[in-house]
């Protein structure tokens, strides 16, 4: 499934743990060593609680550990999970308030023990499960131990009060805040380490953004953990502390539902695209490639991340209006009558009419309506010229023509990328916005063109390019496009000046074919 709205969840209120980050199947040696060290460290943290003279408050430890494990179970157990809200797995780490309460209530070694059963039992998303579980348990144990040490150093035990003694309130916020911050810092540091060793990310990218995302959720967890600890110590006892968890639990549950609904929404948009495919079989995959090319252009122009999402939708949905064109006309081979051509030329308006009600598409709606306008005013439906044409429409127009030329269709073979680029450059100014064409050329230079964005490939290429994933064009082996035409590496390379300047095969004043109308007439 292509991730259409590839908004990273960073902007979301992230309650999920950042501990599940290992994205590899085979664990490299460095990561094994790292996990081993973490396990040793965790053992050193938790073992003192088992010493004979440690005076560990076992009843509190057992209650908190059981509570934490119980909280993590619904995410793991399928039946329970369904009872709590469909098949959505809840993110692990939604129950840090329990751990923070443990850190505030217990001595460090005992607090570290409470994290053990829950983190060992919790759900693992991908194999291999055993090392992941071990790693998560080790990281959590270490972090909770550090948080408890911090709280201890700030004499948290007296600040919480006991029984009828009221807690020392504004002061109690200090140890709680410090403990939450420590937990967050230690988890982030350890996570960055595993990303660096297991995924082989360079250290700077491994840690980038982790802390910023984690701070706000941990602050909320800290407040909830503090109230849990206070109520646990109060005369009302541990029962009352449980109620603090309910709002947290519900918000995690809603958050999981939100993700499910979002995925559903993206699939609905795909359904719109596929409905076009049903009618017009010759353009399979075209919509997604146009979306991809539009994002390449827009990113090159320096558009903000949110607008990139919208331009992707504009590219993907640009031909949605073809649903309104009779199937017989769309599938017709051979020359079109003027009447049939007029009907096909209505598709931008049909498309606009369809998506009018979808609020979040915003600027993309204008792009769908105007993607067949031309800079000199000879396009349709309104014959707008130059800057009158919405910016997104100019982006999509270039991307649409580029993909139409470089992909194989029932009536024509794919042309190599340099030829297509030369054609676009020839018509820049009269038909296309030269800014967009130049941006596409630069983007192709930088990223290459990998046209096989098919439905079952997730779209790493449309995610923000990190230094690790940005391959130079020369090193990118182009994959087989849907039409079966395998370009040689030379074709996929960005055009050299000589190639770009090569005279086009057709008359110099002829416009680039309208991918939806004219090209068919060559058949």
């Amino acid at each position: 499934m292509v991730r259409i709205g590839a908004t990273p969840p960073s902007r979301a209120v992230r309650l999920a743990s950042v501990t599940d980050v290992m994205g590899v199947k085979v664990i490299p040696r460095a990561a094994r060593v790292y996990i081993g060290c973490a396990l040793l460290g965790a053992g050193a943290c938790a073992l003192p609680a088992l010493r004979p003279g440690a005076a560990t408050p076992w009843s509190t430890v057992a209650l908190l550990a059981a509570l934490y494990a119980l909280c993590e179970l619904p995410a793991r157990c399928r039946v329970l999970g369904r009872a709590f809200g469909g098949s959505v797995p809840m993110g692990t780490g939604s129950f840090f308030p329990v751990l923070l309460a443990a850190a505030l209530l217990l001595p460090p070694a005992a607090a570290a023990l409470t994290a053990l059963p829950g983190s060992l039992l919790a759900r693992v998303d991908e194999p291999p499960a055993a090392p992941r579980r071990a790693w998560r348990a080790a990281a959590t144990v270490r972090a909770v131990w550090a948080a408890a040490r911090t709280a201890d150093a700030l004499s948290c035990a007296t600040a919480l009060g006991h029984g009828p003694d009221a807690p020392d309130f504004p002061y109690a916020l200090l140890p709680a805040g410090a403990a939450a911050l420590t937990l967050c810092l230690v988890l982030t540091a350890l996570d960055g380490g595993i990303r660096a060793t297991a995924d082989g990310l360079p250290p700077r990218t491994a840690w980038r953004g982790l802390l910023g995302r984690a701070l706000a959720p941990h602050a909320v967890h800290g407040l909830a953990g503090l109230m849990m600890a206070v109520l646990w110590r109060s005369s009302y006892g541990p029962v009352s502390a449980l109620f603090v968890l309910l709002p947290m639990y519900i918000s995690c549950w809603v958050f999981a539902q939100y993700h499910r609904e979002r995925a559903a929404h993206q699939a609905t948009i795909r359904a719109l695209v596929q409905a076009v495919d049903i009618k017009d079989r010759y353009t399979r995959g075209h919509s997604e490639r146009v979306g991809h090319a539009s994002v390449l252009i827009a990113r090159e122009l320096g558009m903000a991340e949110e607008r990139l999402d919208v331009v992707r939708f504009a590219g993907i949905l640009h031909d949605v209006g073809k649903l309104g064109v009779p199937t017989r006309v769309l599938r017709k081979d051979g020359p079109l009558t003027p009447e049939e051509r007029r009907v096909i030329e209505l598709h931008p308006e049909y498309g606009h009419e369809m998506v009018r009600g979808i609020g979040f598409l915003g600027e993309a709606r204008g792009a769908i309506l105007h993607h067949h306008e031309r800079m000199d005013g000879s396009g349709y439906p309104y014959g707008l010229r130059g800057e009158e044409i919405p910016e997104f429409a100019r982006v999509v127009a270039v991307a649409d023509s580029f993909d139409a030329m470089t992909s194989t269709r029932s009536y024509s073979r794919a042309r190599p990328v340099p030829t297509a680029v030369a054609e676009l450059e020839r018509c820049a100014g009269s038909q296309f916005d030269p800014r967009m064409v130049a941006a596409l050329v630069r983007a192709l230079d930088r990223h290459g063109w990998r046209p096989a964005v098919t439905a079952d490939e997730s779209a790493p290429s449309v995610l923000p390019a990190s230094p690790a994933s940005t391959a130079s064009p020369a090193s990118t082996a182009p994959s087989v496009p849907p039409g079966g035409h395998v370009p040689t590496p030379r074709e996929a390379k960005a055009p050299t000046p000589r190639e770009a300047a090569a005279p086009p095969a057709r008359a110099a004043d002829a416009p680039v074919e309208d991918p939806d109308v004219r090209s068919r007439e060559r058949a």
Binding site: V220, L223, V230, S235, E261, I278, I358
Partner: protein
């Protein structure tokens, strides 16, 4: 006078009386523990501001205000010292805070939303009436002490209050819309599991937290609840967007000329009304609505459109073929599997169909036959559906449809976003 106006009037009248009594008595006798009253009042006013940007059909647009009001109603001690405020003072604080929260909305020229306030006053009054007289007379502490049983007692009271609130809400909703009481109450009770339970839990914890730690507990506990509200809002927003997209997909058939304009929306609205009449629960209604919106999507696969788009007049085999094609498309969307099943089975004989498919089948046939206008055509269409009850249309569904139509159709009773 509309039949439900009396119920709504009675509820509002009772709330008004209670509120007046509370404010009057508080003005007359003065305020006990003004610090507590001020702190909880401020919390409620701040909580009311969360109504900004609430969707019109949001369950609890101001959860923090609700939790604060419930906590104040169940407040026994503050930082270990017993309080003495009574039921009428609680009502007065809730009314004052509610009115203060409304002021900015009035300043912006919006609907003040007095219905919410009336419900809140009655619910909080109920909770306070259950708790404060017992507490102030010393009976609670004497029998339950200050330990865990006290906490459980508070939870019990809040569960009772939540039930009372659900009954009240269903009563008002029934009076407004005329839907049967049972399904409405069931929907309200199910909604309690969502934000309702978070509000109740926070109310309990606030009452206990203030009892143990003093007023500092209020801001600390407000944060998780606000987070819950934010999550619910985001969820609601993405649901709206999804519904809009599905509606667009439904419009594709109209733009393609496969179906008459507005057909999908009419069928969806009427199906939802019939589903309610039959007592389908909320989740099934959503499935029904989505399936009804997309029921004709299979026609996009046809090379030539069906004349007039009226599938009800086609031979049965052809109808089923289109239904299967439609199911195939729907299966590829992200909507639940159940929706695809309904679309797929919409042309089967009713004995083999799930309830939602029966409704879609009958309503779709009605809309095709009635042609969207004319009383005579509508009656003819119903007559033809009744003649088809041996095999094609379920008799109960047809009768339900007739009842809904007799009440004036689906106008204004659907939750489907139009246009």
């Amino acid at each position: 006078m509309r039949p439900g106006a009396r119920t709504v009037g009675a509820v509002h009248g009772a709330a008004l009386l209670l509120g007046l009594a509370g404010v009057g008595s508080t003005l007359w006798y003065g305020v006990d523990e003004p610090g507590n009253a001020l702190a909880f009042g401020t919390l409620m006013v701040l909580g009311e501001f969360a109504r900004w940007g609430a969707a019109p059909d949001e369950r609890e647009p101001a959860p923090l205000a609700a939790a604060g009001a419930l906590a104040y109603a169940l407040l026994g001690a503050s930082a270990g010292t017993a309080t003495t405020h009574g039921v009428l003072q609680i009502v007065a604080v809730v009314v004052a805070a509610g009115l203060a929260g409304i002021v900015p909305h009035l300043a912006r020229g919006r609907e003040p939303g007095l219905g919410h306030l009336a419900r809140r006053v009655l619910t909080v009054g109920f909770a306070a009436l259950c708790f404060q007289p017992l507490y102030n007379s010393g009976a609670v502490v004497q029998h339950l002490g200050q330990g865990p049983p006290y906490a459980l007692f508070l939870v019990l009271l809040l569960v009772l209050t939540a039930l009372c609130d659900a009954v009240l809400a269903a009563l008002v909703l029934r009076a407004r819309t005329g839907f049967p009481y049972g399904p409405l109450l069931r929907d309200e009770l199910r909604a309690l599991l969502g934000i309702g339970s978070a509000v109740c839990a926070t109310g309990t914890v606030m009452a206990l937290g203030v009892a143990a730690a003093g007023l500092w507990a209020l801001p600390v506990l407000a944060v998780p609840l606000l987070l819950t509200q934010v999550s619910f809002r985001r969820y609601a927003a993405v649901r709206t967007v999804n519904r809009q997209t599905i509606a667009s997909l439904a419009r594709a058939t109209e733009i393609a000329g496969c179906t008459p304009p507005g057909h999908a929306h009419r069928v969806a609205a009427l199906s939802a009304a019939v589903g309610r009449e039959l007592g389908l629960p909320g989740a099934e209604l959503t499935v029904l609505e989505h399936a009804a919106l997309m029921h004709d999507i299979g026609q996009l696969s046809l090379v030539d459109p069906v004349a007039g788009g009226a599938t009800a007049l086609l031979p049965a085999e052809e109808q089923r073929r289109i239904a299967l094609l439609g199911g195939e498309v729907v299966r590829r969307t992200g909507v639940p599997e159940a929706v695809a099943v309904v679309v797929e089975r919409q042309a089967d004989p009713y004995r083999e169909q799930p309830t939602a498919a029966r409704i879609v089948r009958a309503v779709n046939a009605y809309d095709d036959l009635a042609g969207g206008e004319g009383a005579g055509a509508a009656l003819d269409a119903l007559e033809r559906l009744r003649l088809g009850t041996a095999r094609d249309y379920h008799p109960d569904v047809v009768e339900c449809l007739a009842r809904v139509l007799a009440r004036g159709g689906a106008a204004g009773v659907t939750s489907v976003a139009s246009g």
